[in-house]
C-alpha cells in the first residue's frame, strides 16, 4: 500500500448494491484523476462485500480498499470514521469524495475534523484549477474547485483547500452523471483488517431497530415534472398542480420555499439541498428561481415558467414564459391537454 496522493471515493451500498451517488462520484472522480494524472481509488466498508468490486471496477477504479465485517453494516458513525481516518493517514489522498447522504454527511465532517482537512458540503460542480492566495500571493496549482450555492442559494461560491489534504467534498445523488468507463477494467483489491482500523469502543452505538421505507416519490425518473414554488400561494393550489401532473403523467416537485411553507413534503424538494432532476419537461409554477433551485433543474430539456411576475429570474432560463396566476393558467392547460390528446 504505497500508493499515495490519489483521489478516493467512499462507496455506500445497500442490499448488495453500490449506491448510485457513489457511482456518480466515481465517474466524476475518474475524469478529475485523469486530468491530474493520478489514480482513482474506492473504499467500501460493510458486511458481505464479496464481489462488490465487480460493480466498482467498471468505473475505472485502480484500487479498492475493502473492509468486510458484520459489525460494519448497517452504517454507524464511529467505526466507519475510524476506518477512513486511519486509511487516509496512511495513503494521504489528495482528494476524497462522499455522497451528500445521511451517511456521507454524518461521516465526512467527523473525518475532516480528525484530519484537519477542509470539507465542502453539497457541491454542485467540481473542477480543477489554480488559486492564488490574495494575502500571501502564494500560488497553488491544480486545486479542487468545490463549487456550491451558498447563503440559501443566493450566491455561488467556489471553495478551495490550499494547504490541507485531503480536499474533501460531498455531492448529492443525481448531481453528477453516472457513466461506466470500461466494463473490463480491473484494478486491485486491498482487504483491510477491521481490527487494525477500528477500536473496540467504536462499536458503542447500537442500532436496535431499522425500518426501511421505500420512497414513494420518483422525481429522478419522471420525464415530466410539475413543480411549485412560494408563488403557488397555498396547499390548495398545490392540488391544482397535482391535477395537472396526474393529467400529464407527471410527478409533482417543489422549491424549498414551498416545502418550508409546509405545503408539500420535503421528499419532493428539487434543488441543491433536494433532488437534482433532468426531465424532458419541467413546468415551474410560481417559482422565482433562486440559484439553489435552478442548480437542481437547469438541465431539463424544456422549461415552462408560469409566474405572475414577468421578471422572475427563472424566466431567463425558461423556454416558454407564461405570465399569469397559477389558479388561472393551470386549469386551462389541463382543459386544453384533455381536449387535444388522444
Amino acid at each position: 500500500m504505497t500508493d499515495k496522493n490519489n483521489l478516493i471515493v467512499y462507496c455506500e451500498y445497500e442490499d448488495g448494491k453500490v449506491a448510485d451517488v457513489s457511482l456518480e462520484l466515481l465517474t466524476k472522480g475518474r475524469q478529475l484523476a485523469d486530468k491530474l494524472g493520478i489514480k482513482l481509488e474506492a473504499v467500501v466498508a460493510g458486511s458481505n462485500l464479496k464481489d462488490i468490486e465487480k460493480q466498482i471496477f467498471p468505473y475505472g477504479v485502480d484500487t479498492i480498499y475493502k473492509v468486510d465485517d458484520d459489525r460494519l453494516y448497517p452504517y454507524t458513525s464511529l467505526p466507519h470514521s475510524s476506518i477512513l481516518i486511519n486509511l487516509f493517514r496512511e495513503i494521504q489522498p489528495r482528494i476524497a469524495f462522499m455522497g451528500a447522504t445521511s451517511i456521507g454527511r454524518d461521516l465526512g465532517p467527523r473525518v475532516s475534523s480528525a484530519l484537519h482537512s477542509g470539507l465542502t458540503a453539497d457541491c454542485t460542480a467540481l473542477e480543477i484549477g489554480d488559486y492564488t492566495d490574495a494575502k500571501t500571493g502564494k500560488e497553488y496549482k491544480d486545486l479542487l474547485y468545490q463549487i456550491r450555492p451558498a447563503f440559501g442559494g443566493n450566491i455561488v461560491a467556489t471553495i478551495v483547500n490550499p494547504e490541507c489534504r485531503p480536499q474533501m467534498a460531498t455531492v448529492r445523488e443525481g448531481v453528477m452523471k453516472k457513466e461506466a468507463r470500461d466494463s473490463n477494467y480491473v484494478g486491485k483489491v486491498v482487504e483491510l483488517d477491521v481490527n487494525k482500523y477500528t477500536r473496540p469502543e467504536d462499536f458503542v452505538v447500537e442500532i436496535i431497530d431499522r425500518h426501511v421505507e421505500k420512497s414513494k416519490v420518483n422525481l429522478k425518473g419522471s420525464p415530466i415534472i410539475v413543480a411549485g414554488g412560494y408563488g403557488v400561494g397555498s396547499k390548495e393550489n398545490f392540488e391544482l398542480l397535482q391535477k395537472l401532473a396526474d393529467t400529464l403523467g407527471a410527478e409533482v416537485g417543489a422549491s424549498r420555499a414551498a416545502v418550508d411553507a409546509g405545503w408539500i413534503d420535503h421528499d419532493r424538494q428539487i434543488g441543491q439541498t433536494g433532488v437534482t432532476v433532468r426531465p424532458k419537461l419541467y413546468i415551474a409554477c410560481g417559482i422565482s428561481g433562486q440559484i439553489q433551485h435552478i442548480a437542481g433543474m437547469q438541465d431539463s430539456s424544456i422549461i415552462i415558467s408560469i409566474n405572475s411576475d414577468p421578471n422572475a429570474p427563472i424566466n431567463t432560463i425558461a423556454d416558454y414564459v407564461i405570465t399569469g396566476k397559477i389558479e388561472d393558467v393551470v386549469p386551462r392547460l389541463i382543459k386544453y391537454y384533455k381536449k387535444n390528446s388522444k
Binding site: 484537519h116 421505507e213 439541498t273 419537461l281 423556454d319
Partner: protein, 289 residues
C-alpha cells in the same frame, strides 16, 4: 437522574424568503435586509432538550451560541421557551471561521462548561446548510454522535435511545452518554414562549449589551440568573491558530451572483388561444402525451 444539556444554536439571516433587496447591485449580500432569526432546526433541538428536562426534573438546559453580542437575542429567546441560561461565545478572533474553526471554538466552550451529558443542536443552519458542525464537535470532544434525530425517546442508566429519520427510513439507535445529537426539521416544533419565563428573563443580557448602562448592570448584578455568559477566545483557552480565518482550511476563492445564460424564451400570452397552441405544440413534438 438529572441531565446537563447544552443546546447549540445559531442566529442566522433568514435566507428562506429572500426579497429582491437581499442582494446589492455589486452582487454582495445585503445583510441588513435580512432579519436575524433563531436557526429553525436549532429550535427543534431546543424542544427535544426541554422535553428531556420535563422527563428528568432537575435537568439543566444551557443555550450556547457563537456570534456577535447581538446573538444574545437567541439565548434570551431560548430562555423564554424554557432554557435555564446561556452563553454567547464572541470574539473578533472567530471572524471568518469555516465549519472546522467554528467547531473548534464551540468545542472549547463546551470543555469550559465541563459537565455535560448531551450536546444537542439542529442538523444544519439555513445560511450554510452544511450539517458539519455537530459531528465535528463530537469528534473534537472524542464522543459519539447521532445525527438526523427526530425524537429522543429517553435516557436510561446513562444510555440514550434516539429515533433517526434518514432517506431510507427510520432507525432507532442506542448510545452511551455523553454524546452529540443533531435534530432534523421533521422533529416536533418548539413550544412557544412561556409568559412567566418571558417576565423573568426579559432583562437578561450579556455584559457588553449593558456596558453603557450602570442601572441595568446593578439590576443584573442582584439577579445572577439574568446574566448571560459572554466568553472570549481567551476565556475558553482557544488556540488562536485554530480560530477564525487562520484556523479554517477552506478558503473562498470567489463568490458570484450567478448570471444564467439566458435562453431565448418565448412569451406565451395568457390567452386561451395561445395556451392551446402551446399544448398542441408540446403534443406534436412528443414532449407530452
Amino acid at each position: 437522574m438529572s441531565l446537563n444539556i447544552i443546546v447549540l444554536a445559531k442566529q442566522v439571516p433568514d435566507t428562506r424568503n429572500v426579497g429582491k433587496d437581499a442582494m446589492k447591485a455589486d452582487g454582495t449580500i445585503n445583510r441588513a435586509a435580512l432579519p436575524a432569526i433563531f436557526n429553525p432546526e436549532d429550535l427543534n433541538a431546543l424542544e427535544q432538550a426541554l422535553k428531556l428536562k420535563e422527563m428528568y426534573p432537575g435537568s439543566k438546559v444551557t443555550v450556547l451560541t457563537m456570534g456577535p453580542a447581538r446573538a444574545a437575542e437567541i439565548v434570551r429567546e431560548g430562555m423564554y421557551r424554557g432554557a435555564d441560561g446561556g452563553i454567547v461565545l464572541s470574539d473578533r478572533a472567530f471572524a471568518g471561521s469555516d465549519t472546522l474553526a467554528t467547531s473548534y471554538a464551540l468545542s472549547a466552550a463546551v470543555r469550559k462548561i465541563g459537565d455535560y451529558d448531551i450536546i444537542i443542536g439542529g442538523r444544519q443552519a439555513i445560511d450554510g446548510d452544511t450539517a458539519q458542525v455537530g459531528p465535528q464537535i463530537a469528534e473534537k470532544l472524542g464522543i459519539p454522535q447521532i445525527t438526523y434525530a427526530e425524537e429522543i425517546m429517553g435516557v436510561d442508566n446513562g444510555v440514550i435511545t434516539v429515533k433517526r429519520r434518514i432517506e431510507s427510513g427510520v432507525e432507532t439507535v442506542k448510545a452511551a452518554l455523553p454524546l452529540v445529537v443533531t435534530v432534523n426539521g421533521s422533529a416536533d416544533a418548539c413550544r412557544p414562549r412561556n409568559a412567566k419565563a418571558l417576565q423573568k428573563f426579559k432583562y437578561a443580557a450579556v455584559p457588553s449589551e449593558v456596558a453603557a448602562d450602570e442601572a441595568k448592570q446593578a439590576f443584573i448584578a442582584k439577579r445572577p440568573y439574568l446574566n448571560i455568559g459572554e466568553w472570549s477566545a481567551a476565556s475558553v483557552d482557544a488556540d488562536l491558530a485554530q480560530c477564525g480565518l487562520a484556523g479554517s482550511p477552506t478558503k473562498v476563492k470567489q463568490i458570484e451572483n450567478v448570471v444564467f445564460t439566458a435562453k431565448d424564451a418565448r412569451r406565451i400570452e395568457n390567452t386561451d388561444e395561445q395556451l392551446e397552441t402551446l399544448i398542441k405544440e408540446l403534443i406534436a413534438n412528443h414532449t407530452i402525451g
